[in-house]
């Protein structure tokens, strides 16, 4: 059954061990900017973990001109065929949250692959006792796309809740 990583902003401390665990697994070294999950902190104290939401209509996969992106049937993750990716950025443009990441130092686009069903980020978050990232079964529905927003938008909304100020005051 496909899985999904639930993200609870209230519980995220911003320790960014998810980035450490993810890059250690995928890159073999600590590389926060190449992590498939990244915690944004545009405003101090407002820590927003952002990763692929596996939208049910997969706009990124549809937008890929070289068919480098495909859906992993078992987990529901978007996978990248590294040999085919030309770093054109069409997937970034198609994503409602502009979540895929292209780095000059890497040959292909970076998208969360759900670690084949046992995500390192959620494991480390649980080991830390924060449980801001929790793996759940992916129930049918299209609401997952709601989380595919860019970090700046989420931050602005979250500021109103936590700080009760106009976001313009702080960012």
């Amino acid at each position: 059954m496909p899985i999904w990583i639930f993200r609870e902003y209230d519980r995220c401390s911003g320790c960014r061990y998810c980035e450490v665990a993810c890059s250690l697994k995928h890159e073999g070294i600590i590389w926060p900017e190449a992590s498939r999950i990244r915690v944004f902190e545009y405003v101090p104290g407002i820590t927003i973990p952002v990763l692929c939401s596996q939208c049910t209509d997969y706009p990124c996969v549809q937008a890929c001109p070289t068919k480098a992106l495909y859906v992993d049937e078992s987990t529901g993750a978007v996978r990248v065929d590294e040999g085919k990716c030309i770093k054109c950025g069409k997937c970034v443009e198609a994503c409602p949250g502009r979540i895929p990441r292209i780095l000059p130092q890497k040959d292909s686009v970076i998208i969360c692959d759900l670690c084949g069903g046992d995500p390192e980020c959620a494991k480390v978050c649980r080991a830390l006792g924060f449980n801001a990232l929790v793996v759940v079964d992916k129930w049918p529905g299209t609401h997952y796309k709601l989380y595919a927003r860019d970090a700046e938008k989420i931050t602005r909304d979250y500021i109103k809740k936590l700080y009760k100020v106009d976001p313009e005051e702080v960012m």
Partner: protein, 628 residues
Amino acid sequence: MPYGFTGKFVEVDLSSSKVRVVDVRRDLYRKFLGGRGLGSWILWERLGEVWEGLDPYSPENLLIVLTGPLTGYIAGVRLAITGKSPQSGGTVGSTIASEVGLELKCSGYDGLIVSGKAKDPVYIFVHDDKVEVRDASKVWGKGIRETHKLLLRDVLPELRKTPRFGEPKEPAMIYIGPAGENLCRFAAIEGKYAHAAAYGSYGSVMGSKNLKAIVVKGTGPLPPVYDVVKLKELIYKAIELVPKKAPRLRIWGTGQGPWRYGRDLSSIPVRNWQEEYWVEKSYSQYDLEVYDWVKRYWADYGCPLCCMKVTVLHRNGETVITDAPDYELLAYEGSNLDVWDVRDIAYLIWCGEELGLDMINAGNVLGFVAELFERGILTKDDLGFEVKWGDVKAFERLLKMIANKEGIGKVLAEGTYRAALKIAEMKGLKPEEVLKYAVQAKGIGIGAHGIRSGLDYPPISYVTSVQGGDHQSVAMLPLDAPPIVNEVWASLADSAVICQFNMLGGLDLVFDALRAVTGWNISKEEWVNEDAKRILTLQRVLLLLGGPDVYWDPRVHDDNPPRFYEPLPSGPYKGKAGDREEVKKLKVQYFSELGWDELGIPTKETLSRLGLTELEPAVERVRKRLGI
């Protein structure tokens, strides 16, 4: 290149706006690691010859921002900042929890050296291999929150200039407030809202260079390590161990401190250290939980412990957003000023942090002023208004006057020690008549941990510390005593550049991590007997060289503030006080353990054993000045 390092520093000369990348000699990494150790050595190498005459506010002083071998790899990101300190005349390895450390390494640099002085306000922007000096006129004069906001707006378009690459994460930043710009001698370098590298007053060194901020974004990986499998294992071990060893810090931050150090251990400053015990009931974490904190867990990168909270208050039409408050500031803006409502304390902290003040030293100065007012040494005529214990409005006014150097603020902005000398002069008093109310060591206000009850900090903590009143790096015996604030271990944390609290997971973990990252086999014994001694000896020599406005005489200044010899007037440890004879004995013992003579001057043999023979002429200069 040794594992865990990039081997490069970026150097920015603000006078000419020239940027160059410099290689660091490989042997220096092993000798000094990074951070506080390596920074002190770079200062010695470049400025040692002219140290005593060097004005910390002159363009010739350096501001060095450093990472260390462990930065970013394990347990709590940190950044070390050093230079010739305007407070002590020596060097302080002033550290701040800041992702600037991580971003620098990801940009390919172990550190940043800033020299010269910009003509107009500027900030430095490091983006991978691109290093720019940019106009900061829009943020000059602004408070911390506004500075953070405007700088972010200034650099985000640049970071996003290739939209098809996706969203870059926010850059890390450190900056100063008006206090630093106006060369207040206890101005901090701030990060986020109230994270600060405060001891040493490097905020004012930045101000003297017209440098408002340093903004860094690196997109590369951390440098390769010696044994990544072992490192990964250690990271998970730290995650498991550290919170377990100090669960209270995750739940309450250090905000639980006032009860512990006030009620139980009698070591909290109360009314400028006139007492160190209090009986008020509603103070500390309960009130913080109920009134202040809106976010319970807030960490910086790589911290498994997570001792910070976010506090939000709405007051006088303003929204206060600040960190913890932590123990030190609860004590210094709280009990030390006779302010007991945590909302008042958080408000005062916010006022000061917004101005970019070091709020430990600010609280030290404010308490000193309130006591001088109480004793009639400073009057309403001097101050412009009354400064009574517990008067939040008066303290708020004073903070602004200090940061802007208005009225008496100009004198007070010099810090407790120098202000005491000036006030004595103003009032026609002998220096010691005012200095007896100044609770400081080597020009640096003492942190909120007393020595009189004998239960918290040991008697020579501040007496022989190479960083004066710094409560996070103090002297104790035996040399390898386990507290993490022992300067032997503090110099490790500040040179490997990790958070000291994360050493609570055990020192073995730190040494194992050092081995896994660098491949060096440094043992605990080796650290205590050689590496720590090398760093402390170097710092001691620079401290004794001192100058140009104040010089330290070991026979006079290697001592506790006079207040610590007055008996505690209240509490379960009433009557207890520092013992001059004991201090004298311990001091000599400590010096001898470090291979220094009875005045704390490193001997020739010690210098040669530690590979510091270059320091011999400097030691001779110290001897000559002291006439010994």
